[in-house]
Each structure stands twice: as C-alpha cells, then as structure tokens.
Symmetry: C2
Subunit: 395 residues, 2 copies
Amino acid sequence: MSTPDSNAILAGRVVEAIRSVIGTAPAALHEPRFNGNEWIYLKECLDSTFVSSVGKFVDRFESDLAAFTGARHAVAVVNGTAALHIAFMLAGVEPDDEVLVPALTFAATANAVAYCRAHPHFVDSTARNLGVDAEKLRNYLQENTEQRLGCCINRHSGRVIRALVPMHTFGHPGDLDALLAVSRDFNITLVEDAAESLGSYYHGRHTGTFGRMGTLSFNGNKTITTGGGGAILTNDSELARRAKHLTTTAKLPHAWEYRHDEIAYNYRLPNLNAALGCAQLEQLPDMLAAKRELFLRYKDAFKNVSGLRLVEEPANCVSNYWLQTIELAERDATLRDCLLTATNEQKVMTRPVWTLMSELPHFDSEPRMDLSCVEDLAQRLINIPSSPHLVAATS
Amino acid sequence: MSTPDSNAILAGRVVEAIRSVIGTAPAALHEPRFNGNEWIYLKECLDSTFVSSVGKFVDRFESDLAAFTGARHAVAVVNGTAALHIAFMLAGVEPDDEVLVPALTFAATANAVAYCRAHPHFVDSTARNLGVDAEKLRNYLQENTEQRLGCCINRHSGRVIRALVPMHTFGHPGDLDALLAVSRDFNITLVEDAAESLGSYYHGRHTGTFGRMGTLSFNGNKTITTGGGGAILTNDSELARRAKHLTTTAKLPHAWEYRHDEIAYNYRLPNLNAALGCAQLEQLPDMLAAKRELFLRYKDAFKNVSGLRLVEEPANCVSNYWLQTIELAERDATLRDCLLTATNEQKVMTRPVWTLMSELPHFDSEPRMDLSCVEDLAQRLINIPSSPHLVAATS
C-alpha cells in the first residue's frame, strides 16, 4: 500500500532515473527531428509545383512503405483515422455490425467503426504485450456468439461481428498467431491497427501485414511523421485498387472528364506531406536503433527502482519501442497521479494511457466483455519521454 | 447548327486566341506558384519540429483567413470536403434529411451530404452567374414543400429540407440576397460552398460570410494552396468552437489526460500545410490582380471569335476569376468535344464542367427539380488555362 510519503519518494526516484538517461533539458513525450533529406525533398516538391493530391513523392512513399513493411501494396492517405475508416469499409463493415476493438486504444479505432455506422465491441488486453487477449476473446466468443450463414452473430445483440482490430500498443506486437486463429475459427475479418508499430515485427514479419489489411499513422507524435498522414497495407491487389479509388473521390480516369462512380472520400495524402515522409523513412532504421538503445538505457536506470518495471518487447517479437512505458507494480491511482504530476512539473513529459474507450460517455451503451485486466492496467501504465534523439543527449 | 468543318474552324480560332494570350508553352488548367515566403515558412516549420496538428502557422493561417474574408472565425481543416462535412453537421443536417445542392458542382458537395446520411436534393442554376437559380428555387419550394413545426418538409418524400448550399461556381458569386431570402422564408439553413471563391465579393462583402457557415478549399488547383486544406468560416463563436472540437477528435484539454467527449473526426490541418498557406495568402492580392488581368486579355482575344462568350463576373460582384470559362453559343456536344480535343491535343489544357451530380449513378434516386438550364449549360461550358502566372508569360 502506498502512502503520500512513499509516493513522493518513488516519484523522486523516477524523475532521477529518467534524468540520468535523457539529461536535464525539458523533454516531450515524442518529438520528430528532420535531419535527413526533408529539406531537399520539400524544396523539390515546391519547385515542381506538385504539392497537392498527385505527385512523385506520393508514389515513392507508397512503394517505399511497401518495400519496408513487406506488404504487397501501401496506399497513402491523409491520416491514420482515414486509413482505419476505409479499411473497415473494405473489410465489409456495414451499418449495425459490430467490430471487436481493444478498450485500450486511441479514439480513432472506435471512431472509425462509428463512421461505418457500426458498433465498437470492446475487448480486454493482456498485460503480457498490452494487446488483445486472444485466449480470453476466444472463450468469450465461444460463449456469446453463434455461426449463421458464415457470419459470427452476437447472441445478445443479434448483430454480425464483422471484424477484429488488434492494435499493437506502443509498438509492441500483439499475439498475431492466436488472433489469426480466432479470426479464422469465428469468421471475423482481421484488420490490424498498426498506427503505432511501424518497424515492429512479429516472428520476423512486419506488423500490419498479417490481417486482411493493416493501417499506419504518421502523425507528428509517431516514429516517423508526414505532418499528418497514414497508409493502408494489404497483400490483395483488388483491395489496394479499391482503397485508392475510395480515398481519391472515386474519380474515373479520363483526360478531361470529371465523373465519379460512387460516394467516396477525399482522403488523399498531399505530395508535400509525402515528400516529408520519404525523407523520414530513409532515417527509420537509425531511429529504431536509437529507440532500442533508449530502452536499454532506461532499463538500466530503472533496475534499482523498486515498485515498477519497464515494458519490454514480447518474446519472438521486435518492438519499435514507440512509447517507452513504465508499469507500476500495484494498482494505486494516487501513486500514478503523483508520478504524473511530479514528472510533468519538472518538464519531463509523461502521460497515462488513453481513457479506456469503454469509459467514454458516447460509447456507454456499446457491448463489451469483462475488461478487468485492462481496467487494472490503465491505472498502472505511464509513458515516458521516447524520442529517438534523446539517446544523443547523453552519449 | 455546327458541322465537322465549322467545328474545326472554331476550334482552331479558340486555340489561336488562347495562344495569343498565354504564349506557346504547354498550359495546365490551374497551377500554383511558390514565389513568396513558402520556403522560409516551411523551413521555420521544420526547424521548430511542429509540423503536425498544432503549431503557430495553424493559428496564424486561421487569423489571416478571418482577416482577409472578414469572417469573425476561420477554422482550418484538412480539406474542403472535411469543411463541408462538419459545416453540414453543425447546420443540423441529420440522417434522412434533404440538403439542396446545385447539380452543377464538384462531387464533394453532394458526398458530404451523404456522409451525414442525408440526401442531396439537386437544384438548377442560372446562366447569369452559374449559381443556384433563386427564383426558380423559390417557386419550386412554394409548390413542393410545406412548413411543419418550423421545418421545411418535402411534400413528396416527407423529409425535412434542412440546408441550402449554393456554390460560387468558378469564383462567380451567386445571388446571395435572393438565396438568403429563400433560406429565411422557408426555414432552410444557408451554408455557402465557397471552395472556389476565395477573393470573390458579393456587394462588397466576401463570399462565404453570408450563410450560417461558409467553406473554403486550398487544394492544389485552387487560387491559393496548402497542398490539401480547407476552412470553415462563421461569425458565430459557438459554431467556431464546435467546429474546432469536432475536427480535432473532441479531445478535452488537459495536461496529460486523453479523454474525448463525443464521436469526432481527425480533420486537423497540419502545421506544415498551414505554413504553405500563410505564405500563399500573402500573395493573394497579386494573384487576384493577375487573374483579373488574364480575364481582360482573354476577353480581348476572344472578341472577334463568334459563337462563344467569356463568362464575366455578375453585376455588383467581384469575382476571383478562379477558372476562366468559355460559354458556347449553341448547345452542341460535338462542338464542345471537338474543342476539348483540339485544345488538349495541343497541350492547352481545357475541361468541361463536372458531370452533373444528378447524372451520377449513385445519386440516381435522389430528388431533383427540373434541371433544364444546367443540363443545357453543362454542354456549353469549357474552362481554359487560368493560372495567374500566365499573365507574366506575354507581358
């Protein structure tokens, strides 16, 4: 049991441990750096006048992403939320369907379900990798669903459970083999929310390439950034073609005619943003190495701080260590908040996990399984400064 | 009546007239130029590391837009389509409502209605300014709607007609006084699609500031560009606050907590794109002057080409002359297509108007008034090269 005094002592030790790694300057949670060809490519982009919805950097960014991840196709879009929206549409999510999403995720995952006029159905995560608990999910589906005409039906709501969307939390790959087996056994399409896991591998293969589709994000706080941006990964050429069509207003190709053949979206990534992305992607291997080194240094610094552990990549996986994460030993909200206050007051930015989706008022009436593990975890996880350039600060 | 021979002769004269104004180099329909502070601001943006969803250029772009248009508030968003979507939501457009949109518009206007799960209801335009025919609309509403509980009800569908969305075609302001009167008399909220009319004024006041909200676009083909971008204009502080909240994932402000209070969107304009916008906006007065000069030169060049006229700004209005437009004298599709072929073959890019929304297969079953004027017009309008820098080519 923690007391105000023991809380303050632990908070002091945590600040000290972090400072020993990153130095004394104020530190954000995750900041980008532009030390490569960003400048050159942006200039090239301006000089070409192609800053908008088509251009060579969009094409190159897509093929570079495919090459890096090993996905057959990458379709660049305006942000990760848009990528999820279109991936769900192409996974066949229809109005009044349900989509299994972790309660522990950023709002975009659940919002994109709502854009399809479907219902997020919240599932629990495991402390092992902070991702969907495949075994608990399997048991839950066994008890609460039935198969009808090749669809998985929620016995309580009568609705089709169309898709399962594991999210690779803070870059740590989820249990993809077990999740794929659930997906197969219950006829639920797997779509990976890989927004946080560019550069993370499960059994040697890049996250986001296991599901029918995977989605990436290049928001400013991600490992690499395009300002705002995202992508859909898939190995299916027809899905890739459809994703491109739906994200580019469904305009039919023609020298001058403007004709569209379905209701669609303006989710194009501007060439200007893709130019930034191409330069950032060139530096990704170095950033990943620096983020891994940062993890090792934190691990060393925290080894004598009792009452917490640093979250490590799962067995047989490579994590990009997007956000370094402390897990407090015992559930105690006063300890967590004391730590958050102490660190942020000293300009060491830290953050708890997102408010669980299941606890947001607008998702109050959405279905959910028992969420006891993630409800406990949410009180005990804290993200600490994770920018790759922090390694340079003291080396 | 045109014949193949007379078509070819007219096509030759049109190419010659255009060439006499813009010179012999290939010409796109509308291309941006970056001759101001674009470079400096982009560099500043990279150096600050704030390239993403917040930053000083976003704030500045919003206040510069408000200052330029005279709107009390401008909320920057990721593109014009997103601006329309949110403006319709805030105008109270609900599932199964109808929204009056011109058949003559870009797909985004009608698509954004569909995003709200409402029905576009297509209305005719007048040849006078290519915008919604207010008098015809008034008569149509008189005959086909009734008032019930302060709402305008379509007698045939039984649905509420919630909003009216005039679009200022190619930059020419529509009949705003008459449209505002229709809006008032029939209890239909006016939202202006001003995507094409930045720098266009109706009776001395900037377009997009007459309706409850107005929307702008900064796509690559617009008068100024941010790569991709848009904005919502409004004089209502509460609507502006709501627009900001709904376009920024409805996150509640807090030092570290991540909590959202409604289903919302990731429609933020990245700071990188706003930096480009700030530099472009500084050059807008010069661009507008050049576009006006281009119009005058075209007018002079076409004065001896019989069988067509150049579309001019309406009385008491100032048009930005976004896209210069030829109107052919007689309806004859073979003449139009002959002209399009001849010009595009010679690298003078021209384009007919968009396929009318009412003729797209996915809007087949949506309601519409008699569209005879716009169906005729659509066969007779051709856009010709309109970039401001074309003025420099021969001066």
